[in-house]
Amino acid sequence: MSFEIIFFVFVLGAFIGFEVITKVPPTLHTPLMSGSNAISGVTIVGAIICLRLFEGGSPVGMVAHVLGFLAVVCAMVNVIGGFMVTDRMLAMFKSKTKKKD
């Protein structure tokens, strides 16, 4: 994949980010932050690929794999913790009308 294509995608991604998040009610600032933080845990994909085996199944670089292990743990904490805590927060937001049900 050429640098140009990746850069193209990067810029488009930023545009979508700016367009999608224009007006956010202050009530949602914290959940939006923790939710988008969980999305940045997408590094998990890179971390998993770090644990690839090379050349017919032998781990070429032990160092690479130890680092990959660390990356998977960190990214997973970020992903699971981020989505769960966001869900926990959003579950608490109740409107008056709902409460009467």
Binding site: H29, G35, A47, R52, F69, M76, R88
Partner: protein
Amino acid sequence: MEKLYVYLYLLATALFILGLKRLSGVRTARGGNRLAALGMLIAIVAAGMEGVGSGGLSWSMLLPAMLLGTAIGAFLATKVEMTEMPELVAAFNGVGGLASAVVALSFLANHTADGSLIDLLSEAHDIESPVSTAITLPLSILIGIATLTGSFVAYLKLGGKKMSHPFAGSSRHGVHLLLGALAIVSSLWMILWATNGGSQWLAIVVLVVISGILGVFLTMPIGGADMPVVVALLNSYSGLAAAASGFVIQNLLLVVAGSLVGASGLILTRIMCKAMNRSLGNVLLGGIGDDSVAEDAREYSNIKESSPEEVAMLLDAATSVIIVPGYGLAVAQAQHVVRELANELEKRDIQVRYAIHPVAGRMPGHMNVLLAEADVPYEQLWELERINGDFQNTDVVIVVGANDVVNPVAREQGNPISGMPILDVDHAQTVVNIKRSLSPGYAGIKNPLFELDNSLMVFMDAKEALTEMLKEVKEL
């Protein structure tokens, strides 16, 4: 269908975008978060497929790592108190940054050998554009590690630890520039000049150390009042770190998701800056809450001390009450008792509303989360622009542990908070300030609100004071 994983990455990207969009609406937010989580699940499955397709994965490493990360994440997410939410988000930002940097390091571990790194990258059969990899590798380490250490400093600061930058005033910027230059030099060393694995790793270690110091130094001078901005900005960085590692391993999902988060974090940062009438540059260079604020007249005169009993009587006689929560409410964990007091007043047909300043607390939306935890319906939470005109028709305003966001000095020129939009609590009939002492807020300046004739002080812990008020109101 061996490239099925590519389409799954695309699906995951779409789910992230939809999820993020829904996260910005009150009614759709919870579904949005779950949609994004589903996207992540699909992305993880797709990554597994990609790994298996390209020679297999080390399951004996992968599965324990995933289980361990899941256990830690789930434990933190369920156990943490709502008052500690800013610290938790800072911590998650930090591990996210670390993960991105470590992905780049792991990539490096597979590519360092004798010869310069740029030549090695050019010869590697799995890299199509060695130059872009060579540029984004150090960038990915720099952003990731700086996000980690910056988040760590933010975490400590949010926990109330005071820190000052080892280099004072303007010399600080010179130090930062020097560190930035060193980071560039060590990157060049790593990529171009080092010609064997050993010296390449030495360069990498130097880069990691410099990035770490840079993260600490850049976060340190930012004052406590600016913490919401910092947390939002670090959020943006953690996205950029993910995007940078996406460039390195040439994975478009990482690039898109990272830039999405980078952009949304930047928007939140801008919202926070606007709420304080400051530019981002101004915040980053430090200022508010910095020691540079002179110890000017912090002497108070005309302070009227009051008691919970007296306030209870005032409340009983009122027809409309506005509660202004601040960080003191979070520290005292007083969100539940404040709701009980509000319920008690509503039973007496007194209108109760909450006025939420955009930067009240330590992170964007901090007060909203706290009050939501205490079952306060969000219709009762009023934003600054919507409620500011109503203070003049309000009988009693209770300011709970807030200071700078109600400081009328902001309307004047020539002080650290000049021009910051504030809640016009001084326009109300009576303002009750619950505060432990007359100590200044994070801006480090005196608050003349406390000296006004319609201002009463209750020098107590927020929870104690509100509990006693509740008791007294019930007895009336």
